[in-house]
């Protein structure tokens, strides 16, 4: 025997204790997330129940560990739901939520209508092109959202390329106003989120076995029927993923409505921003954020429940 590591009696406890590095692998990211994700969120929740104050930090009550039990009692009695009452009573907030959901829903629909044919077309090209086309679809996503929106500010300005083109083609007599309109918001959103819609759709369309299409044709189905009865149902998972991937972040979007839209009817992201930076009302900003989060969690929970049910069946 050329001495294989026959160290049998050397360390019988080798597998018994979990090594230190193993502990660290879990603990380090865990503690990081607790400190920088969970606790901040709890603070938001707490501040949403506080009152505005002209102080630093600009809210009361402030949690004071040094005050002991009395401090704790004072802290909890100081909490109130006033901010949430304000959200209900002041139509500004309700309108802002409705506006956000409306814009998100409608632009997601537009994205689906535009994204589906594009994803379908890419999935039908020869495999070598597919990789290139997918890369080309993702590429704009890697460049800053700010830059992409700025590019549209260029195009949509009063005497910008779009209006020059429209005038040159005599489609319009007077240059229309684009910036600070809802149309501009829609253009910006559709432009920015197209990759998020196309990619999951492409992924599910590309997986569809060509033999299924051929089998359907062999069994006598016309092309539109094949598309409607085979392709669309088999790509439903991609549609759901694409819709969620677009709808959820669009609701909380700030940069696009801020740069392309007006401020008269703000989306909810703008409202939080204004409450925070403009009005310096941290408690109300926090309350708006908490409600927004609840609004966004709902579709995810519904989706989760449905996939769970689908898995069980």
């Amino acid at each position: 025997m050329t001495a294989p590591a026959m160290a049998v009696n050397e360390n019988p406890a080798a597998t018994a204790r979990a090594p230190l590095w193993r502990e660290l692998v879990v603990r380090v990211p865990y503690i990081w997330l607790v400190v920088f994700f969970l606790i901040p969120f709890l603070i938001v929740l707490k501040i949403s129940l506080s009152q505005t104050a002209l102080a630093q930090p600009p809210y009361v009550p402030v949690f004071d560990l040094a005050a002991g039990w009395d401090g704790l009692v004072a802290f909890f009695t100081g909490l109130s739901f006033d901010n949430y009452r304000l959200l209900v009573s002041d139509p500004l907030y309700a309108l802002s939520y409705v506006k956000s959901v409306e814009i998100a829903a409608f632009s997601t629909l537009v994205l689906l209508v535009i994204g589906y044919p594009l994803a379908y077309a890419i999935a039908r090209t020869p495999p070598r092109w597919q990789a290139v086309l997918v890369l080309l679809t993702i590429l704009p996503f890697w460049t800053s959202m700010l830059i992409r929106i700025y590019a549209w500010m260029n195009i949509l300005q009063h005497d910008g390329p779009l209006n020059q083109l429209l005038l040159a083609l005599s489609i319009v007599k007077e240059p229309p106003v684009w910036l600070s309109t809802e149309t501009a918001i829609y253009i910006g959103i559709v432009y920015s989120y197209l990759p998020f819609m196309v990619l999951p759709l492409y992924a599910s369309l590309q997986k569809i076995d060509e033999a299924l299409i051929e089998a359907a044709a062999d069994l006598g189905a016309p092309r539109w029927k094949i598309f409607w009865l085979i392709t669309v149902p088999l790509s439903s998972a991609g549609m759901v993923a694409g819709v969620l991937l677009c709808f959820i972040p669009i609701v909380g979007e700030f940069v696009i409505p801020d740069l392309l839209g007006g401020s008269s009817e703000p989306m909810i992201g703008q409202t939080i921003w204004m409450e925070f930076f403009g009005n310096k009302d941290w408690p109300v900003a926090s309350a708006v954020a908490v409600v927004l989060l609840c609004l966004l969690v709902t579709p995810i929970v519904v989706y989760q429940n449905q996939t769970m049910r689908a898995v069980e069946q």
Binding site: M1, T2, A3, P4, A5, M6, A7, V8, N9, E10, P12, A13, A14, T15, A16
Partner: protein, 376 residues
């Protein structure tokens, strides 16, 4: 058909003085509620080539993984050189495994794959180079040391995996379905090479396979497994000629089974679908007990005339099916309403000669020593 006589019976097993190298004592392994290995005991001797044979899901791969240390047993012990392996992690066991998927590291070339284990041991670089070159030439892979796994053919990958697991000269080499991915011809060649390699290196091999001809070709002893239990252990001829149960008789090779009652003389079985059958061995059971008679198809004779001298077991029937297999033909003869006997006859004559045609009345016979009486 099976080259059972190419290997001599393995001596240490029969020598009472020899100590087993690997001793498995009432080992039990459960996954959740299902028991995969059930109170299994087995001794394996130094220099032995042992095969674990069984249908898929019988627990043979789990047994291998328990020996390698990838799974921990729920009960029982595994002793290697009389040392309990329970507290020895996989990476300290002087046991190496060849994986069914080969598990070659795709980011390393052949040389680095084979050298991997030696590096872990801290072997000097020059010795690593020497030993890797040596083992690569043993498995006939010289000149491919710089290739990556994906640049090799299936057979070459298999050899790299073999070389990698052999280069550390393990006390026991575990082979998990090592030839499952090879085509039939290549498998035959590799089996022969594996035997030669094992003899040259004088190592102990345990191979897991579901292919009975592979187990019979390579192994000194075979352990037949079913549902987590070793149902029979012995050399290939013993397993084939003296199966201990209907299940083993049926799983290893082809067989005709007749159920009946043990006669008064305990040498005959009465009331089978083919009538009374006679055997040479006196069975140790009470007369009247329900037993089975197993007869291998190649031991059955078919003739148009009554066989002379009259064999112990003889009946007539009608040929219902003939399958031509090249080296042999399988005849199915209906001897009773509920009984079809299968007979395999070597095609010794030329020109597609047939003993009998479909529909023909024939005599079916077999000698008393071809009948194996089974109580289980």
């Amino acid at each position: 058909m099976h080259s059972v006589d190419t290997k001599q019976a393995f001596a240490p097993v029969t020598e009472p003085s020899s100590r087993p190298l690997l001793r498995i004592e009432s080992l039990t392994k459960r996954f959740g509620r299902s028991t995969v290995i059930d109170q299994l005991s087995l001794d394996i001797y130094e220099g032995e080539f042992f095969a674990l044979l069984g249908p898929s899901g019988c627990g043979k791969t789990t047994l291998l993984r328990l020996i390698a240390g990838f799974e921990r047993p729920n009960a029982g012990r595994i002793l290697l050189d009389e040392v309990d392996l329970a507290s020895v992690p996989a990476y300290r066991r002087p046991v190496n495994m060849m994986f069914q998927s080969y598990a070659l590291f795709p980011h390393l070339n052949v040389q680095a794959n084979v050298a991997f284990g030696l590096k872990q041991e801290g072997v000097a670089r020059r010795e690593i180079a020497y030993r890797v070159a040596h083992i690569l030439s043993l498995v006939k892979l010289d000149g491919l040391a710089k290739r990556r796994p994906h640049e090799l053919s299936g057979g070459q990958r298999q050899r790299v995996a073999l070389a990698r697991s052999l280069v550390k000269r393990p006390r026991v080499l575990l082979l998990d379905e090592p030839m499952a991915a090879l085509d039939k011809k290549l498998r035959r060649e590799t089996q022969a090479e594996l035997i030669a390699l094992q003899r040259e290196l004088k190592l102990t091999f345990i191979i897991v396979t579901h292919d009975q001809s592979e187990a019979m070709t390579v192994a000194d002893r075979i352990g037949v497994m079913n549902q987590g239990v070793l149902v029979q252990v012995g050399p290939a001829p013993e397993i084939y000629e003296q199966p201990k149960s209907r299940w083993v008789a049926d799983f290893v090779g082809d067989v005709n089974l007749f159920e009946g009652r043990l006669g008064e003389d305990r040498r005959s079985v009465e009331g089978t679908a083919a009538g009374s059958l006679h055997t040479t061995v006196k069975l140790d059971a009470t007369p009247g007990a329900t037993v089975s008679v197993a007869v291998r198809p190649e031991k059955i004779r078919i003739s148009r005339e009554p066989p002379l001298p009259a064999p112990a077991n003889c009946t007539t029937g009608k040929v219902v099916e003939v399958s031509y297999l090249g080296d042999a033909s399988i005849y199915k003869v209906r001897v009773a309403e509920s009984c079809v006997i299968k007979a395999a006859l070597a095609n010794v004559g030329g020109g597609g000669y047939r003993v009998a045609a479909i529909g023909e009345e024939v005599w079916v016979s077999f000698p008393a020593d071809a009948a194996i009486v089974l109580t289980q």
